[in-house]
Every structure is written in C-alpha cells, then in structure tokens.
Symmetry: C2
Subunit: 366 residues, 2 copies
Amino acid sequence: MGRKRTKSGKIRLAEVAELAGVSPITASRFFRNPEALSVAKRTRVESAARELGYVPNLAARALASHRTEVIGVLIPSLTNNVFSDVLRGIYDASEGSRYSIQLSNTRYSILQEEKLLRLFLAQKPAGLIVTGIDQTAESRAMLEAADCPIVQIMEIGPNPVDMMIGFSHYDAARAAIAHLFAQGHRKIGFVGARMDPRVQRRLDGYVSAMKEAGLFDQRLVVTTATPTSVTLGGTLFTDLLGREPGIDAVFCANDDLALGVLFECRRREIAIPEQIALVGFNDLEFMAAAVPTLTSVRTNRYEMGSTAATMLIEAIDGRRPERTVLDLGFRVIERQSSAARRSDSKPGLTGAGAANKMIALPTGHD
Amino acid sequence: MGRKRTKSGKIRLAEVAELAGVSPITASRFFRNPEALSVAKRTRVESAARELGYVPNLAARALASHRTEVIGVLIPSLTNNVFSDVLRGIYDASEGSRYSIQLSNTRYSILQEEKLLRLFLAQKPAGLIVTGIDQTAESRAMLEAADCPIVQIMEIGPNPVDMMIGFSHYDAARAAIAHLFAQGHRKIGFVGARMDPRVQRRLDGYVSAMKEAGLFDQRLVVTTATPTSVTLGGTLFTDLLGREPGIDAVFCANDDLALGVLFECRRREIAIPEQIALVGFNDLEFMAAAVPTLTSVRTNRYEMGSTAATMLIEAIDGRRPERTVLDLGFRVIERQSSAARRSDSKPGLTGAGAANKMIALPTGHD
DNA sequence: AGGAACGTTGACAGCGCTACCAGCACCGAC
DNA sequence: GTCGGTGCTGGTAGCGCTGTCAACGTTCCT
C-alpha cells in the first residue's frame, strides 16, 4: 500500500514565514543562524515551524547555497571489525550535527578509491574522511584541489593533505616486538594477511626491530595477499611452523589471525605461552576472553573515528582545530599469551597479576 | 591548501546541450532515458558530456524532480558482525546503480528508529530498508504512508509493510534444539544477551522446543539486556553452571557468546562436546576454525543485504519483483562441538566426518 | 545635531535541473 | 484528404531555498 509516488504537499519555508509574519529570508535565517534574529521573531518563527511541522528541503538548500551537508567517508572494507569501530565513532560524532555521512567502500583498491573520490568530489561534499596515506597521485591531486576540509585516518605520516589522525603502525609493531624481547623471546615469527599498506608497515616495524636485534630471518615471515580470517591464521601458522619449527613467539598482524594461531596451537597441543608466545594487533574484545588471554596492541579505533568526524565538522564550520595532526598512539596490552619465557614453565602461572597489565611503551604514546 | 570554499565553476547541463547542439531538455533526457533520443543526438550528447567532463548536479535534479536517489537504511548496530555482513551486501548491490545509501544506527531503540524514520521520510528517499518487524505504531503508520518502496530485513513475519526478506529466528532456534535432541542431549541451556526482538524469538523457539519435549526448565535460561560480547558468554555460562550444574548442552543466541562459552569451558576444563555440547548462531567465520569446531546456525546475511537492495532498486525503478516476501532460510552446520552424546566419550573422536557436515532441516529452508 | 556604526529585516534574483505541454514531421487508416 | 497516432524535440515555468545588497531604525560618538 501507498507505494506510488505522490506530489509534494510538503509545507515550505514560505508558509512558515507567513504564519510567523516575517519574510521568507528571515525564516531561512532562523534555521541557519538563529542568533541573527531578534528574540521576538525568533520565537515566532520557531513556534510557526513547530506548528506546521516544517522540515527544510535539503535539495533546495544545497542548490541555492552551493554547498551540501554531506561528509564523504572512504574506507577499504566493511567486513573488518577495525573499520566498524571507526565507523561507529564517525556516525556517533556526526549524529546531532547537520551533516550526514556518505560511505563508500574502496575494497582495498586505490584505483577504486580514486574513482570514488572523483564521484564524491563532484558532489561538493562538506568534508571528506579518507583512509590512510597511500593515495594515487591523481587522488592526491584531487584531494589537494578539493575545497573542503579533509581528514586522513588510521595512520599518520608526512605531508598530510589537510588533517590527519591515526598512529604509527610501524612503531606499534616495534613495541610489540620489544615486548616479546623483554619477555625473553627471540625467534619471533610474523604472520600477516591482506598486506594492505598498514599491515605492510607493521611488517616493516617487525623487520626493523628484528634486524636491530640481529635476529631477522626472512623465513620467520609468512604473509599472503588473501583477506584475513581466523582460519587463515591457522594456515599461515602451519606454514610458519613448517619452515621454522623452532620459533618461540608469533606476532600476528591482527587479532583474527592470532585467534587462528591460538586454535591451531590447541589442535597441535602446543602450549601458549610456554612453547610459543603469541601477540595480536588491535585488541579486539575477544582477546581478553581467550584462554590463555591474548596479548595485543590496543588501538583507539572508535576514538579515531569520532575525533576525525569532530575535527572535520569543526573545520567545516570554520573553527579549524589548532592541532590538525593527531597521533592517537597505541598500547601493548600484556596478557598471558606473551608471558615471560622460563625453563620450568607451568600453565596458568604467568607472573601473577601480569595479565591484563598495561605498560607504557618506549615508542608508544597516548 | 585549498581548504577555502569557492564558487561553482562547474559545467552545467546547458553547456553540454549547447556543445551538442540540442536543447537542455534533450540533454537532460539523455541522462535519464537515453532510448528516447534519436541515435544521432544521443551520440552527440554523449560525446559532448564526455568532452566537458559533465557531472550532473544531484541537488538540482532532486529539487526539480521531487525525488531523491537515496536509499535509507536503518540498522540497530554498527558494531555487530551480523549487520556488517548485511551492510556489505546492501552496499555491493547498490554499487553501480544511481542510488546512494544513507545509513543510520538505531542502537536497538525503536524510539530512536521512529525519530530517524521521520527524518528520513522528510527527505523523500527513493526507498527504505528497515531492520526487523517490531516498529512502533507510529513508525508503522509512517512506513505505510510512505510513498516509496520499503524492505524489512533480518526476519520474516506477518503483515509486511511492503517487501520483506529474512528468515524465522524461531524456526532456526527450534532446528538447533532439534539437532541437539537428535544428538542425545536433553538438559540444554540457553544463553542470550541484548535480547533484541530477534534474539527473543530465538529464545521463544528454544522454549517451545524444550516444552514440546517436556524438558523446559526456567533455570536453564540465562539472559541479560547487556550488549553481547565474548567475555559475556563466559560470564553467562558461569551463571548457568551455577544454577544447573548438570546441563549437557548450551545453545547460544549468537556466536560471540558461544566463543565465550568455549573459552570458559577450557578454563574450567570442561570437555566439549563430551561433557557439554555447544551450538552458536549465525555461523561466523571463526566457528569453523575453533577447537573443537563449533556447530552453528548459518544465516545468509550478505545475501539478505544484497537481495534486499536489489529488490528495492527494482521496485523503485518500477519493476517490482514478483515475490515480495522472501524467506532466505538457515542451516544448522553440524560440527564437533555438538557431536553425539555417548558414555565412553573420548576427545577428538567425534564421529569421523561429521564435522562441518551440512544437514537439511525439518523446519529449515534454503 | 550630524553622521557613522550596528543590528535587523526584506526584495530580488537566481542555483541547475526537470515536469508539463506543445509542436513538428511522418506514418498509415479510414 | 483528413484524422489520429507515434517518435522526437523544445519552450516555459517553476522546484524551495539562499546570496547579495539595500534599507531601516536605533544607538553612540564627535
């Protein structure tokens, strides 16, 4: 029922103005800048609008003002837990503002990103949130020519297009490896999937830390371009074991992989952390619930999204934040899976109280 | 750089028309219904548009045509894996169409949903996707009065507003319990969190199956309004064990809870499935990777999203699908965690080959 | 007292596009 | 030959709102 399209029938600004006894333009101002009206007219317009149930026509507003109230968001994946947290932050922060979110999925393709960017920019968005710092030259040029504020999220790097909020994946990986070193682990494997730029930088951080310690060995690194999954974690770990049976720790580029490694160890009856220590990345909720609890690098995903949206909206509204590049840092959350190496290791006795302890990091920030 | 707002400077339809040597209205038709033009003009307009890099102004189009090309989507959560799969389906299916997705998060509140609905409807969306069948009376009235196609997703029920796509959570839960019965389990606990309408219907299905078998006991049911999490699965399971130490199976309202139960069992050294069988819901990816592999009820989330979007777009374009109510069904994916009960249970020997087998269901559909 | 400065208001003219309807050429049918 | 149909094209008139600028009354300064 009621499926057919009908004529407008909506009440317009002019009606509100008439009822309020003011000119349309004054009514218009009420909705955009109420302070500019005298108190008397303000209340008259307000009650008239309420009485009539007036809802502004955004299309007309956009047409007349040459500006939309849309924030474009480009993210590489809709599946990934990481981005759903970021997105939630973005949506939460934009709620209540007059801006609406236009989301698009680049599927980890910078060419697709370029295409979507062109599409977005053509609609003159009020602002833009893009993921990462690895745009094509063309995308980069478009972004720099865009006449709206832009926030790059997920990581920080040199030459921001405009604003930037994230953390150093490189440093975060180094901190994870430093932690494993501190616990006495030496032969540390790396397991990574999808290998998008941020995962690549985690690998770079791992490699640099291992090289500095004189422990790097290419055979310790197992990666694939395949999208990440828990199952894949087990598969890659199996590969790693095949190449280097003597590893004493594994650093996974994300928590799903770590969970897969945990299960694979259980399957193979490899004790964590006694035989092999395990560290993940992102600190998803299940890491604290696993048995043993799993060490991970906590990243501030929700905060990243909400802060990005907040900064963007402020910039759109002409109140550019003083800090335009924000490093949200990370924390290694030490849990049982990476407990200190010892000869007479007994399960469950991992340095009483150490589990779940947060440690300040050499390279970390907050 | 380039942050300031500039004047338009865009090329308009009129320019394209001029270059092509046709009237603006003819050029306009080219973009909406190319077949209506003679081949000669069609190619002229096409090349003119390409040459100038013309991009239509959607605001002007919306204003003039009294119609937007926006599909509103209302979902209860951005965090939940379940909805991210559905969303991915929606975005994938809408990609390439001229419709864009406008997403809003009701946070499991039907009052919030009503508010958002009012907001959406005021913008005259081309179509609407709403979650579930439990709207407020007010929302329901608005939906019925809306002059656009609407799809209700996630579940099916009586009195669709317009179109509907989902499955019966009640039947799915019954099928899960029937499976546990078939495996010889009797004292089956229910663990549920958040208790949104769909989880409630899973509980209803559980209750009815248990009552039919004369096995229902209120103490077997542990629920909470708290949002779901893996950790919570362990907590609720602990509650359940406290009340009913003798349970021989647990049916979890979702897979995160099931994972939490798995870990808690590991912590307590309870053997799955020998001492307690475990069944989850949704069949997230990790269920097949866990040790033991975890039985779950597979739901077609991605397909639900993509089909909903496809049906909606067809209806918008005037090609209403013949079937407007679609039951996407479910499947119980039998894995190790629910293997048949036996006296001399030995770990790992759960009926060779049964793991991962898909079974057709009494009440299930495909 | 004269004038500048300010706060407030309104008239006017579009923004870029499409709905609507009219017009034209051409065809076949009566 | 007149009529009505069909296929294509164009003119006109807005859609509902806001940018711009002018005008008004009031206050404050010199």
